[in-house]
């Protein structure tokens, strides 16, 4: 009996080896294909235009909207849209519009708006304050107090001065810091995820206070 078994297994062995050979062949082929794909990738990558600063910042504006929870907003636009406003000189140009076109936030259609006075910002949810308005910042921020507007700017010292989110460049990377006190004052709830990716989170009020 044993002899028969062993002989049977002996006979099966070549088949097993044959089956084992084929997967290895396919693995080799796959590896070659993957290497080819990697070789091609830089070419494709190079062809894509590198996004400029305000393209990224426009995307970030949108993304901030996704991590922030607004209080029930009486300040919602008349048409029920989600207003993203730019105060002062617009650095984005058309980029902002193209970036936000067709997007929804908080269940509402995102609409861009350019305002010149802080008083106009009543219906805005996210307000990008141009660095040109650095001088009027105090007035602007105070005007927007308790309006429930997320303020974003790339002017230096913005968050220290009472602004909520401030962009800054960390090498090539665009990063931001958050003034949590300001957001809390504006009764905005920021997701911990947002806080996690922020370069710094300021929990005290501005030094000016």
């Amino acid at each position: 009996m044993t002899r028969f078994h062993s002989s049977a297994s002996d006979r099966r062995a070549p088949h097993n080896r044959a089956f084992n050979h084929h997967p290895r062949l396919w693995q080799c082929l796959t590896a070659i294909i993957v290497i080819l794909a990697f070789l091609c990738f830089p070419v494709l990558h190079a062809q894509q235009p590198r996004p400029n600063e305000y393209q990224v910042k426009a995307a970030y504006l949108f993304n901030f909207g996704r991590f922030v929870k607004w209080p029930t907003a009486p300040t919602a636009g008349k048409d029920g849209s989600f207003m993203v406003c730019v105060l002062g000189q617009d650095p984005f140009g058309a980029i902002l519009d193209s970036t936000l076109a067709g997007e929804d936030l908080d269940g509402k259609r995102v609409v861009t708006r350019r305002i010149s006075k802080p008083q106009d910002a009543g219906t805005c949810r996210i307000l990008f304050i141009s660095s040109e308005e650095e001088t009027h910042l105090k007035e602007i921020l105070s005007a927007l107090d308790e309006e429930g507007v997320l303020t974003v700017s790339d002017m230096p010292g913005f968050s220290r001065r009472g602004g909520m989110i401030q962009f800054f460049m960390d090498g090539n990377r665009i990063r931001f810091e958050i003034n949590l006190a300001s957001t809390q004052n504006a009764r905005l709830t920021l997701s911990s995820e947002l806080l996690k990716v922020a370069a710094a989170v300021r929990k005290s009020a501005g030094p000016g206070d």
Binding site: V34, V56, N63, R66, I174, E193, K196, V197
Partner: protein, 779 residues
């Protein structure tokens, strides 16, 4: 062999049990483990998916805000999960965003991944690879790649395997236990049964039984059936043995029977042989008896007939009417007796196949005439008319004597059975190759039912009106005689219109010599005193015959001298007459041969011749010599002298017959006289006494019972007297003798004859021995 088998059965049971339970358990374990593995793997996949989802949602912000460090932080939490080999976050376009490896030297996630992934998992090289898109608020934000090893699965599998092994082992032990119980319940009875079967088949011992099983199950039924079968076999075997024994016994019995039957058969065949010998002897005795009887019966009868005939001739004195009648009665009775004896002897001879026919050509007409002449007196006594009708040239091939015997029988019957005044017709005619002879009468006819039976021996027609004398043998003999001749005897008869007996005989073409016929005819006569006439001249022979026949002698003619000696030996005639001038043998030669042959030496010979040489005749031993021409008286005187010469005894002293019964005395006297002795008689004791006293006899034949003085007395007297002490005495008596008397007689007499026995011949023999007859003397 047997042990191995039983082992094999219990082993098989055990193996079966263990195999079944083991197989069932293995299958169950395999199914269970298989199912568990599948579900466990699914759970692993789900777990992985959940993990990826959590990581995904936790890295969404990092992706969105391009913070790989944050993602790396999140991913690094996977170090807690030991099975996660590596994980990576990719941007939506497939670029690597952040990665994690438990052991970077061994595992690392791919640098890029195809964009637009849906959630999928795959198993590669004992790893699970799960790819899942990261969706944040409904938007694809990135892709997560996570690879886990199956160590946990393997571990679980190992655990299961060990548990299954333990369970299997336990189960097999349990199965072993159960099977031991089964073996007790199932195998042991089977083993016992097998043992019994082995013993039965080996020892042919059908008396043992398998132990019955305690429980009622198929096994018990099997054992019961086996036991029952054994019982039946035992029974059958016993019956078979019994049958065998019986058969053997029967075979032995049969063998014994056969042997005894064989013995019986042998004994039977021996007895058959004996019977055959006895039959042959008896047949020989019968032949001897027949030849003896023909003489022994005929001789005394001839004496009776001769004496009675002599008496009627009144030669020794005249007889009165009564005497005449009585003698006639004696004669008739004697003749009837003679006929009867002759018939019986004839029939016996025919039946024994000893009758020899002298076939010759016989002229029918002559025979008819002779028979008619012989029968005519008888017919005339009853006023019958006897008509004979035959042509002259008709002749048959037959024994002439027998032919005439047949005719006489038939005519005699016709005469007897036809009422007075009838007609009897004897007719012969040629009928082709045969001659048909008819004897027709005008009698009452024979009823059909008797027509066949009348030919049987001793059958007599049932005639009531008158008893007809006859032997009852006539027709039987006749029929046989005819058949011996090659003919056929038949009967045509109608009641009331007579009968016609007919027979056929082969016809003969012509005549034979007359002398042959005459020589035949002569044979029938001459029992009283037969004279053989040797004469080749027919005329002379006939002359002599007529003289002698007229004188009452029986004559036998012999025309062939060469046969004369033979005939003389056969016939023992009283005398022979012969011619001298004969051919081929002459008279001298014949005379010499007759006298020199002891069987014929004492027969007197009378020479009848023209040759006048009496001296030569005397010299050659001829008793008489007559010179032709023969004178009748001379012839008869010579014959008489010869006969006297032969009968004459001339003793000096007579034989004394002491007998009180006259007839017996007379008969003895005649008997002795005939033998040539001189006889004197004494009717009583005193007469005998006085006769012996006066002249001493040659011998005394003494009756014991006598008036006045008894035979014993006489004997005693004679024996006491010296003169008569040696007197020969024969005792002839009808007395029943006591042994003492018998002894006395034997001592004092020469012979004892008792009358109720056949004493005559013995007496004569004894007498001839004691007293030889006196030799013949020439006159």
């Amino acid at each position: 062999m047997f042990k191995a088998k039983t082992h094999s059965i219990s082993h098989k049971l055990t193996w079966m049990n263990m195999l079944v339970s083991g197989t069932a358990l293995l299958l169950a374990c395999a199914a269970f483990i298989g199912y568990d593995m599948v579900t466990f793997r699914e759970a692993m996949v789900r777990n992985l998916s959940t993990q990826s989802q959590i990581i995904g949602s936790n890295t969404a912000s990092a992706l969105l805000f391009n913070d790989p460090q944050s993602a790396a932080n999140t991913l690094s939490a996977l170090t807690a999960a030991h099975d996660i080999l590596c994980a990576a976050i990719y941007e939506p376009d497939g670029r690597l965003f952040s990665s994690y490896s438990r052991d970077p030297r061994r595992d690392s996630p791919p640098l890029t991944i195809a964009a637009g992934q849906t959630e999928s998992h795959s198993f590669k090289n004992r790893d699970i690879v799960l790819v899942r898109p990261i969706v944040f608020q409904g938007k694809p934000t990135g892709i997560i790649y996570i690879r886990s090893d199956l160590e946990e699965l393997d571990q679980r599998l190992r655990q299961y395997a060990s548990i299954a092994g333990v369970v299997l082992l336990a189960c097999l032990m349990a199965a072993l236990l159960v099977s031991s119980v089964f073996r007790k319940a199932v195998a042991e009875p089977i083993v016992g049964l097998a043992e019994v079967a082995r013993i039965v088949s080996h020892d042919k011992n059908y008396s043992i039984r398998a132990t019955p099983a305690p429980r009622r199950d198929e096994l018990a039924i099997l054992i019961d059936a086996f036991n029952e079968m054994l019982a039946q076999i035992q029974e059958n075997e016993a019956a078979l043995r019994k049958a065998h024994d019986e058969l053997e016994q029967r075979v032995q019995e049969r063998t014994a029977e056969l042997e005894s039957a064989k013995g019986e058969l042998e004994a039977f065949s021996v007895s058959i042989l004996q019977a055959k010998e006895e039959l042959e002897r008896a047949s020989k005795f019968k032949d001897q008896f027949l030849s003896t009887m023909s003489h022994e019966l005929r001789t005394p009868l001839n004496a009776v007939l001769g004496f009675s005939d002599l008496l009627t001739e009144e030669r020794y004195g005249s007889l009165n009417d009564r005497q005449q009648r009585y003698v006639a009665h004696i004669h008739t009775g004697g003749k009837h007796l003679l006929r009867l004896i002759n018939d019986i002897l004839d029939l016996s001879k025919i039946e024994a196949g000893r009758l020899q026919l002298a076939i010759e050509s016989v002229p029918v007409r002559t025979s008819f005439a002779e028979v008619a002449d012989a029968m005519r007196p008888l017919a005339e006594k009853k006023s019958h008319s006897l008509v004979v009708n035959a042509s002259k040239e008709l002749s048959v091939r037959a024994d002439a004597v027998r032919f005439k015997q047949v005719l006489m029988n038939l005519i005699g019957n016709a005469i007897k059975f036809t009422p007075e005044g009838g007609t009897i017709e004897l007719a012969g005619r040629q009928l082709g190759e045969v001659v048909r002879v008819e004897v027709r009468d005008s009698g009452p006819g024979i009823p059909p039912e008797e027509q066949q039976r009348i030919f049987e021996a001793f059958y007599r027609l049932n005639q009531t009106e008158k008893m007809v004398e006859g032997t009852g043998l006539g027709l039987a003999i006749t029929k046989r005689l005819v058949e011996l001749h090659g003919g056929h005897l038949g009967l045509e008869s109608q009641q009331g219109s007579g009968s016609c007996f007919y027979f056929t005989l082969p016809s003969s073409p012509g005549f034979e010599a007359e002398k042959a016929r005459t020589s035949g005819t002569a044979l029938k006569t001459g029992e009283t005193a037969r004279i053989l006439v040797v004469e080749d001249d027919l005329t002379a022979a006939h002359l002599l015959q007529s003289h002698l026949v007229a004188a009452g002698y029986g004559v036998v003619l012999c025309g062939q001298p060469e046969r004369a000696l033979e005939m003389a030996v056969d016939l023992q005639p009283s005398a022979v007459t012969m011619d001298i001038m004969m051919k081929p043998v002459n008279g001298w030669e014949l005379l010499a041969s007759l006298k020199s042959d002891s069987r014929t030496a004492r027969i007197p010979v009378i020479m009848v011749t023209v040759v006048d040489q009496p001296a030569t005749g005397s010299l050659l031993g001829a008793d008489e010599y007559i010179v032709k021409p023969v004178e009748k008286t001379t012839l008869l005187a010579a014959v008489q002298r010869c006969l006297n010469l032969r009968g004459r005894i001339a003793p000096a002293r007579p034989i004394l017959v002491v007998e009180d019964d006259v007839s017996t005395r007379e008969f003895i006297a005649e008997l002795l006289s005939k033998q040539g002795y001189v006889v004197s008689v004494a009717p009583d004791g005193p007469a005998a006494r006085s006769q012996v006293a006066t002249s001493l006899p040659e011998l005394v034949i003494l009756d014991l019972i006598l008036p006045e003085v008894s035979g014993f007395q006489l004997l005693a007297e004679w024996r006491s007297d010296p003169r008569t002490a040696e007197l020969p005495v024969f005792v002839l008596t009808s007395k029943d003798l006591t042994p003492k008397e018998r002894e006395y007689i034997r001592a004092n007499t020469g012979a004892l004859f008792q009358k109720h026995e056949r004493w005559q011949q013995a007496l004569i023999r004894q007498l001839q021995r004691a007293v030889p007859p006196v030799p013949t003397e020439k006159s």
